[in-house]
Amino acid sequence: MSALGVVSQLLALLTALLLAPLLSGWVSQCRHWLQNKSGPGLMQPYRMLHKLFNKESVMAEHASPLFRFAPYVIFGCMALASAIVPTLSTDLPLSPAADAIALVGLFALARVFISLAAMDVGTAFGSLGARREMLVGFLAEPALLMVLFCASMISRSTSLTTMVETLAHRDLAIYPSLLLTGVAFTMVSLAENARVPVDNPDTHLELTMIHEALILEYSARHLALLEWAASLKLFAYSCIGLAIFFPWGVAEANSPLALLLALPVLVFKLALGGVTLAVIETASAKMRIFRVPEFLGTAFLLAVIGLLVNVLLGVG
C-alpha cells in the first residue's frame, strides 16, 4: 500500500463525509421547491450537525453501555461502507477489502445495532421502530443482494470495483436485466433510506415513523452521529446505484489528481440523482406499513426476473 494510495483513500473518505450531508440537504431542498416552499437551504444539515455537536448529551437513566456505544458503531459502519463503494476511483487500498456481499453485511450490522439500541431504553416507540426496521430490513436485504448478483453476473465478479470497471469499459451495450434491477434497486433504496413511500424523513410526529422512532431517545452528539450516518447511508446507496447503472466517469487510477478530476462528475451525477429522488418522493404517497412487504417483495421479484432475463438473453 503506497503513501499515495493512503492519501487517495483518505481523500475519498473525506469526500464522502463532507458530501453526504450536502446530498441530504439537496434532496430536501428539491423537495421543498417541488412543493412550492422556499426550503431550509443547502447548508441546513451542516448547521444541524454543528448545533448538535455543541450540545450536552442527555441519556436515559437505564441506558446500558450498548446504547452509548451504538452511534459510534453505526457511524463507523456507514463511513466504512462509503469508503468501500467506488465513489471516485476503482483503485483504492480499501476497495478489495470487501465485496458486494460484505457490503450488505455491513449495512446489516448497522441495522442490528440501531435496533438493539432503540429497544435498549425500553420505550414503546423504540421497540416499535426496531420491529419495523427489522421488517423492512429482512425484505430489503435479499432484494439488494439480488440486484448486486445481477451486476456480478454481467461482470463475473462480486467485487464492486471489478463491476464498475467491467461495466464502464464495455462498448455501449443495453442490458435489459439492468433495467429490471434498476427499478428494483430504486425501490430498495427508497425503503432502506426511510424515504417517502415507506417512511417520511421529514417528521417525527407520525405513528408510522420508522427511522425517527429509532433515534427518538438520542440527543446531542449521539444524535448528530446517527443523522450523519443516515446521510452517509443515502450517499453510499446513491453511489452503489451510480456505480452499477451509470459507471462512467469514475477514475481508475489511484492518484489524488485523477480523483479530483472525478469529483465534479460525481457531484453532477449525485445532484441529478437527488433531483430524481425528490421527484419520486413528491409524486408518491406514503403507504401503509403493511403494504411495505408487498412493495419490497415486488422489488425482490423484479431483481430475480432481472437475473432470469440475464440467463435467457445471455450477456452482452
Partner: protein, 219 residues
C-alpha cells in the same frame, strides 16, 4: 444502429415482461388500462424496430395496426366502458398479490427453461425474446384465472394477444398479413362483444363479479 437493434429489441421485450408483472400486481382498473396501453406501445416500438432492421415493410403495417387498435382504440373504449359502468373501484384478487407474483416467477422460470433449447435453433435476430413472449402469455393466462372481475379478465385476454403477436414477430419476423388482419379483427370484435356482455352482466347482477355466473338460475 443495427448493432444495437437486437439489444434494443431485448430491451423492449423486457419492458413488455415488466408491464405484464405490473398488470398482475395492479389493483386499480384505470391504471390497468393505462398499463395495457403502455404494453401495446412497447410492442409497436419492437415491431417498427424489427421491421426497420430486417427491411420488412409488413412489420410496419402490423405495428401500425397494433398502434391504432391496442394503443388508441381499445384503451379508449375500455375507459369509456368503465366510465359508463361507473367501476373505477379497486380490483379484488382471488390470491393475494405476493402469492400471485411468486406464481408468476415460477411461470417465468418455466417459460424460460422451456424456450432455452428452442431459441438456440432460431436464427432470427431476436430469437432470445421468445421466452419472454411465452412468459407474457402465461402471465396473462394467470391474470385471467385469478381475477374475479370482468374488465381485468378482458385486459388479461388482450395482453395475452400482445404476447402472442410479440412471439410471432420476434421468432418468424411477422405472420402472413392475412393472418395478422384476421387476428386484429378478431380482437376488435371480441372486445366489442365483451363490452356488450359487461353491460348485460352488470344489468343482471348489479356487479361485474363473474362468480355470479356460476350460480344456475333454478337451484
Amino acid at each position: 444502429m443495427s448493432r444495437y437493434a437486437p439489444q434494443l429489441i431485448n430491451l423492449f421485450a423486457t419492458l413488455i415482461l415488466l408491464l405484464s408483472f405490473a398488470m398482475i400486481s395492479q389493483r386499480r382498473i384505470v391504471s390497468l388500462i393505462n398499463l395495457f396501453m403502455m404494453q401495446g406501445a412497447a410492442l409497436v416500438a419492437a415491431s417498427f424496430l424489427l421491421g426497420y432492421v430486417t427491411h420488412q415493410p409488413e412489420l410496419y403495417v402490423s405495428g401500425a395496426l397494433t398502434l391504432v387498435l391496442k394503443v388508441f382504440f381499445i384503451p379508449w373504449m375500455l375507459h369509456r366502458i368503465i366510465r359508463k359502468l361507473n367501476v373505477r373501484w379497486d380490483v379484488e384478487t382471488l390470491l393475494n398479490i405476493p402469492t400471485t407474483m411468486l406464481v408468476g416467477i415460477a411461470l417465468v422460470i418455466f417459460a424460460f427453461s422451456l424456450v432455452l433449447p428452442i431459441s438456440r435453433l432460431s436464427h432470427s435476430i431476436a430469437g432470445g425474446s421468445l421466452g419472454i413472449a411465452l412468459a407474457c402469455v402465461l402471465l396473462s393466462f394467470m391474470m385471467m384465472i385469478v381475477r374475479s372481475k370482468a374488465i381485468p379478465q378482458v385486459i388479461g385476454f388482450l395482453s395475452m394477444e400482445n404476447g402472442l403477436i410479440f412471439a410471432a414477430t420476434t421468432v418468424t419476423n411477422g405472420m402472413p398479413m392475412i393472418v395478422e388482419f384476421g387476428i386484429a379483427l378478431d380482437v376488435l370484435v371480441g372486445v366489442l362483444i365483451l363490452g356488450v356482455f359487461m353491460f348485460q352482466i352488470r344489468e343482471k347482477f348489479d356487479s361485474l363479479d363473474i362468480h355470479n355466473l356460476e350460480m344456475l338460475k333454478d337451484e
